[in-house]
Subunit: 353 residues, 2 copies
């Protein structure tokens, strides 16, 4: 019977509330499919930072590397500057484990009120492939003339050929694999003078290897508008770290609640463990009320199983989610227009499995 | 009788088609209000670039500086790399004339099908204040290791205290002026390590001068999602050059068509002429069919009059626009769900004035 070592990092805020629901669902599906999990729990969070000045212990990455995958809740909490908590945990793991693909489905689910007019499940259904370790997210730069009238700050983005080509290639391969041979590239080569013309050049170059895949590209500004105006047009959208980040919140926002969206941080070569998390953050505003929607975390667990090669178990979770949401009397947290609590939704999906 | 010298630059593509409609409307309102215009026509465009390798002649900026304001159509056309055409004209003018404010209304207009569910005019109605001359739009950087496997590109953004503070201050002042004392700042200080923490710091600092103005801030990713999920929440949104750019296409996209949105590039000190343009681009795909929507260009002309101190004339144009759009049988271009042509819409608004 396959056994997987899973690093469980609830992190901050509602991360702690939604994680138990995902484990519940994993256990149910594990029982049915004959898969077992060894959970290694890590309580690294902003509280750790407040106590130690670090988000994880010195050998934290070493500890994580002993696992087959990482299931993460959310990181960031008032009282710790966001850039310190994130660069000390989430972004650190993405980089040091070379999880250069961030894969995020955008899918309108049944039974969730959609902010777009006249859309039904199926109308909004595409994938975002986000570059996850370089680009605009960078610690290169700093302040100048500090304390004077001339004060300012420089922030540099670095795009490598290696980093750009491999994410573009992943997008093209995905488009083939899902049988929707169409890749849309997010650019801004009219305003960003160096980075985005280069991105476009690599998109064109890598694209020649995929003559069967239709290619188009839009500047990020108009692309955001087109997401809202005609989401049906998209199949696979590929973007830089920042553009992918923006589009993969906007997309789920268009499906009614970002709380259902999962995010897979993948090292495709499986040299390092990959990491699975919901798109949403730690939501300090609702933390403690136990009304956080666990679906993003549960869906992330399904993507984790898929990555581990347990496609059938992964599909069972997704199916259970859909079944529960399709019921008129389904347990729905407030963000989905209902009054259920976190555990109600988790229990319902766990039972439906 | 006040007379204004207006530099008229239709630019590329549909810029050439919508500009005559704006001049038509300006003339109508001018006649009624006793204002006259001297139009100085400039045909600078991507055709100029193809002929001369430049978007404007050597003394181009000198010629423009003789005018009280600039009315611009759209810049950019296939065959000329976007970053060269834009940095040679639009971005050059914004910078050299220190038009550091880009002001863009986001407003759902009557009679235009809205992609958001259950929204009526009034529900989407706020302002975007975009920093317009520094930040992410920068020519600093370049390629390294060109032609090798280690190839890549660096792109640097520069935020100055001066540049950041003045745009934030403009946003706070605007919020006061329009009687909606609430400013939302777009940030991404969790991912962009240097620039956005600095932006947040300045937002907090400048905000202390406006204790009567409510402040909030969101990371750009979740902010984009919130635009779609709850546009009613916003009054004045302030963002960097890139974030403002994205939000000010997304916003108009949410109102059904970006073609109605205007963009004012303002030098508040009036040391240099300000520039008024539609948000949309040159739209090569529909150029020549004469179905481009002229409303963005006409609204831009209204903003120009406002800036010139002709508030009454400016309001008349806006009113005429609203009147025409409110009619069930209004002339509507295809992007507004109708079959009218560019000139039909221009004529209708011109007559309604
Ligand atoms: C054409 C382009 C350079 C420009 C910008 O990004 O500023 C446009 O998108 C705009 O918003 O005015
Ligand atoms: C928390 C933040 C640093 C992170 C990001 O920007 O990558 C988040 O928004 C995400 O999308 O996973």
């Amino acid at each position: 019977m396959p056994n997987y070592r899973i690093a469980v990092l609830p992190g901050d805020g509602i991360g702690k509330e939604v994680m138990p629901e995902a484990l519940k669902v994993l256990d149910s599906v594990g029982k049915l499919c004959g898969i077992s999990f060894d959970y290694n729990h890590f309580d690294w969070s902003c509280e750790t930072w407040l106590k130690t000045g670090q988000m994880m212990p010195e050998d934290g990455m070493g500890q994580l590397s002993q696992n087959d995958a990482i299931l993460l809740g959310a990181v960031g909490y008032p009282g710790v500057p966001d850039h310190l908590s994130l660069w000390g945990l989430l972004l650190k793991i993405r980089r040091e484990f070379d999880q250069y693909v961030n894969l995020r489905p955008v899918r309108l689910l049944p039974g969730i009120p959609c902010p777009l007019a006249n859309k039904k499940p199926g109308d909004v259904d595409f994938w975002i492939v986000r570059e996850n370790v370089e680009g605009e997210y960078s610690q290169i730069g700093g302040r100048f003339a500090e304390g004077t009238e001339a004060e300012g700050v420089v922030q540099s983005a670095v795009f490598t050929k290696l980093g750009t080509d491999r994410i573009l290639r992943y997008a093209f391969e995905l488009a083939r694999k899902i049988g929707r041979p169409h890749v849309t590239s997010a650019t801004k080569s009219n305003g960003l003078f160096h980075s985005m013309p280069y991105w476009d050049e690599r998109f064109a170059a890598v694209g020649t290897e995929y003559p069967d895949v239709r290619m188009d590209q839009y500047h990020i500004d108009i692309l955001a508008a087109r997401f809202v105006m005609s989401p049906e047009r998209f199949d696979v959208v590929v973007g830089s770290n920042l553009f992918g980040d923006i589009l993969s919140d906007l997309g789920p926002g268009m499906t009614g609640t970002i709380a259902v969206a999962p995010s897979a941080n993948i090292n495709p070569e499986k040299k390092y463990p990959s990491m699975f998390e919901p798109v949403h953050g730690s939501a300090p505003d609702i933390f403690g009320r136990k009304i956080a929607n666990p679906i993003g975390q549960i869906w992330a667990a399904s993507m984790m199983l898929d990555h581990l090669g347990e496609a059938e178990a992964a599909a069972m979770i997704l199916q259970a989610m859909m079944d529960v949401l399709s019921r008129p009397d389904a347990a729905r947290t407030p963000d989905m227009g209902g009054e259920a609590r976190t555990a109600d939704v988790g229990n319902a999906i766990s039972q439906a499995v």
